[in-house]
């Protein structure tokens, strides 16, 4: 019964969305307040109906209702509760329902927090947002209905893919979707502004927190996925340049560009049409990502494109929204003239450079991702584009970005002098250079990658420290320290996020340049050495888990004579899904991880053991957390809370001048 109610609520939400996509738009055009005001309650209703629908599906999973086909395919009565819940979105249909839930949540949030938007703009934003929802509701109801019942319910389910039964992955999709779908609001703001024909500083101020929110969630989502790959896949890889990873990375890059360019719109009323275009494209790449992931077109070396109908449907959604928005853009963009004037050397120019680098690197990822498809269709060549291509083609852009970032961050608006911006950074530069030279001198290999990465990372972190310190002005150290606590949160956000990028770069270069690998057959109680550590396999036992059987090893880890810990690498077997998984055992340290994987038993009684020494591995995700934290600090900045304020048009709003 509850399942049917959920199904019904979903259809109702679809109908509300249809109304909300049309009525407020007409109202805004004709200046009919009643019609415009309809958007707000409709957005709330849409969200509540979708939430109810999602709740109904969750209920079916939690109670293991095996009359629902989706529950049968993705759940099992023995599964721990957390994975019963995460099973709701661990499949195509359920994850689409989560997708629209978040879409309607963002619509409702725009209604809740959009109190100070001009009524016509608000009505148009909500209508555009709702039109996106219409498309996805239709997609779910007509091609991917999660509420279908079984004619003959089985006794138990087929279990969720064991790889998904992991805390890191349980929360990976929701964050990712908050990011993907959050960009829809930036898109709606852009299209509404194009219809409205006006983009000003206030628009930049409204759109920025939403873009930040989407970007923060994308950052966390990508970080979680990469962390999971690191500890779950058995050799500590953290990024694979796979099409589906790229699908999440491309919107991340464009969202990063967008949140920088919208600063220029907000503070300097320039780069308006470019920012609008970015907002459209960023959501466009979210849709492209959805298409890549759900159609199976790009990785379909096997017969994986099993449901072309879904792919075609998403392609139509993509075509409609991108085609429509870009046509509108072409017609209206010229009317948005820039107001701010600035010299060639200025914060504005630095942000333009930031946008160029991020957009072009996104383009490189895009080309690499679709090239196998292009080559096959146009040139009849079956080829692969793998990590070696992306490493070579993408990395240079990040190196340049890292090199110029601290300088750009120090530049004042309008007109800067290179010398004056560079001077305070000299200590940071010297520090970074010495770290790099030290690393180069100490390392045994010939690689330049490690030192270059260390230079960039240190340069970014120390540059951020200089940046925030320089914001405290002049005078005694005590006074400046006091002022440090009173700086706007946006300043802190900027420094923390930039330093986070540096920390991540340190981690990546540390692991890639200096990790050590050891593969061998190990006999019991025969110690072996890896990277200065001594490891001893003392025991291997069979252990039963709640819904799996594990082969667990006991490996003593020591450095010299001091014992550090005992590691328990596992191989698990999930009988329902008939699938094995690897659980690496990791001794996590600040400077390094020691990573042990147990393999198969050997004929001579030994066990295959793989050991990795991974310097700075955790810095990759530490930096990711810092970047997300920086974004959150920026969102919480006073100027967004006090009033996403239309200072210029409505001086009565009482927004303090910047």
């Amino acid at each position: 019964m509850i399942v049917e109610l959920g199904h019904f609520a979903l259809i109702l939400a679809f109908l509300v969305a249809c109304l909300q996509a049309v009525v407020p738009l007409i109202g805004a055009h004709k200046r009919w307040p009643g019609w415009m005001a309809m958007a707000e309650p409709a957005a709330n209703a849409q969200f509540m109906l979708t939430a109810f629908s999602f709740g109904a599906l969750t209920y079916a999973f939690v109670t293991s209702d095996f009359s629902v086909a989706l529950v049968v395919q993705n759940s099992h009565s023995l599964k721990p509760m957390i994975y019963k819940i995460s099973g709701v979105w661990g499949n195509h249909e359920g994850s689409m329902l989560l997708w629209v839930l978040i879409l309607t949540l963002f619509g409702a949030m725009a209604a809740w927090f959009g109190g100070n938007l001009p009524p016509t703009l608000k009505a148009r934003v909500l209508a555009v947002q709702s039109s996106v929802a219409v498309a996805f509701f239709a997609f779910i109801i007509f091609t991917s209905n999660p509420f279908l019942r079984m004619a003959v319910p089985p006794f138990d389910g087929q279990d969720l893919n064991p790889l998904l039964q992991d805390p890191g992955l349980a929360f990976h999709p929701p964050f990712l979707y908050l990011g993907y779908v959050g960009l829809s609001l930036a898109f709606s703001f852009a299209v509404a502004a194009l219809i409205e024909g006006r983009v000003d500083a206030a628009w930049g101020r409204w759109v920025r927190p939403w873009t930040l929110l989407a970007w923060v969630n994308l950052t966390v989502g990508i970080g979680l996925g990469s962390w999971w790959a690191y500890y779950e896949l058995g050799w500590g890889g953290f990024w694979f340049w796979d099409p589906v990873e790229n699908a999440s990375f491309m919107p991340w890059l464009l969202a990063a560009a967008l949140l920088h360019s919208s600063i220029v719109v907000e503070k300097r009323e320039s780069l308006k049409s470019w920012t609008i275009l970015l907002a459209i494209l960023a959501f466009g790449f979210s849709l492209i990502g959805t298409f890549i992931v759900r159609s199976g077109v790009i990785t379909s070396v096997h017969a994986f494109a099993n449901d072309p109908e879904r792919g075609v449907f998403i392609l139509m959604i993509l075509g409609f929204f991108m085609g429509g928005a870009l046509t509108l853009f072409a017609a209206r963009a010229s009317s948005m003239e820039a107001k701010g004037v600035f010299s060639l050397v200025s914060r504005e120019s630095a942000l333009v450079m930031n946008n160029i680098l991020l957009a072009v690197s996104c383009f490189v990822v895009f080309i690499g991702t679709i090239w196998p498809l292009v080559a096959e269709m146009l040139f009849d060549r079956k080829l692969s584009v793998g990590p070696p291509f992306f490493d070579m083609a993408f990395t240079p852009f990040m190196v340049v970005l890292g090199a110029i970032l601290p300088i750009g961050a120090m530049m004042p608006w309008k007109r800067a002098e290179i010398g004056r911006s560079l001077r305070p950074l000299i200590p940071a530069f010297i520090l970074a250079l010495s770290v790099a030279l030290l690393a180069f001198a100490l390392q045994t290999g010939r690689s330049a990658m490690g030192p270059v990465g260390l230079f960039l990372g240190t340069w970014l972190i120390s540059g951020s420290v200089v940046d925030i310190w320089s914001r405290t002005g002049r005078g005694a150290v005590a006074g400046r320290l006091g002022r440090l606590t009173r700086l706007p949160r946006a300043d802190w956000g900027k420094s923390v996020a930039h330093a986070g990028l540096g920390v991540t770069m340190l981690g990546i270069s540390g692991v890639l340049a200096w990790q050590q690998e050891d593969i061998r057959v190990v006999q019991f109680n025969e110690p072996f050495d890896v990277a200065g550590f001594t490891l001893t396999l003392t025991d291997v036992q069979r252990v039963e888990g709640p819904n799996y059987i594990s082969t667990m090893g006991w490996v003593d880890l020591a450095r010299g004579d001091t014992a550090i810990t005992t590691l328990n690498p596992e191989k698990r077997f999930y009988p329902v899904a008939e699938m094995p998984t690897t659980e690496a055992a990791i001794d996590i340290g600040f400077w390094r991880d020691v990573y042990v994987v147990i393999g198969d038993p050997q004929a001579d009684g030994g066990w295959a053991i793989r050991t990795y020494y991974k310097p700075l591995a955790n810095w990759i995700w530490g930096g990711t957390i810092l970047m997300a934290l920086g974004g959150m600090l920026s969102i919480s900045d006073r100027r967004f809370r006090v009033a996403a304020g239309a200072t210029r048009r409505e001086p009565t709003a009482g927004v303090p001048a910047e």
Partner: protein
């Protein structure tokens, strides 16, 4: 490894039953494959990181635990032991399995477009970006406070009246 990442995604996005077949923990290079000569082994590892496991999805033979990947790894090592150069080993594999086996695409034929796309786009973007910045700077020099031609005409008309 890629296979598992993909399996995860596929499971998330709805190809659950199919993905189960492809997923398995990888143990990639096994102890018995490793060559005695460390220099040769190092070369073998470098080469196999750039070669695709033909039956896997986007996974190098270095990471894959498929039987075919193991065969290819052993093949690479045999060629190296026989004295082939890296280039010859790659050519041997391409002859056998086709261009599809290369994770790093060649620059030949239309592929130059793939490799040049980034630099070309960067130059274009820099060109557009700099010309935009110049217009903003020109606006500085003419002075924001100055009147446009239209405004001047309007002003002189008012003054005449």
């Amino acid at each position: 490894m890629m296979r598992i990442v993909l399996a995860f995604w596929l499971a998330v996005v709805g190809f659950g039953p199919l993905s189960v077949m492809t997923a398995a923990p990888a143990h990639a290079v096994l102890p018995d494959e490793i060559l005695d000569d460390p220099a040769l082994e190092e070369r073998a590892r470098d080469l196999s990181r750039g070669l695709r496991c033909m039956v896997c999805r986007n996974e190098s033979i270095d990471e894959s635990n498929a039987e075919l990947a193991r065969d290819m790894r052993i093949l690479v090592r045999e060629r190296l032991v026989a004295g082939d150069s890296d280039q010859e080993v790659v050519e041997f594999i391409v002859d056998r399995y086709g261009e599809y086996a290369l994770l790093k695409p060649t620059t030949g034929g239309a592929n130059w477009l793939l490799w040049a796309a980034g630099p070309i786009m960067m130059l274009l973007a820099l060109g557009v970006g700099i010309s935009y910045l110049r217009t903003r700077q020109a606006a500085t020099e003419t002075g924001a406070g100055q009147l446009s031609e239209e405004e001047k005409a309007k002003l002189s008309k008012i003054l005449e009246d």
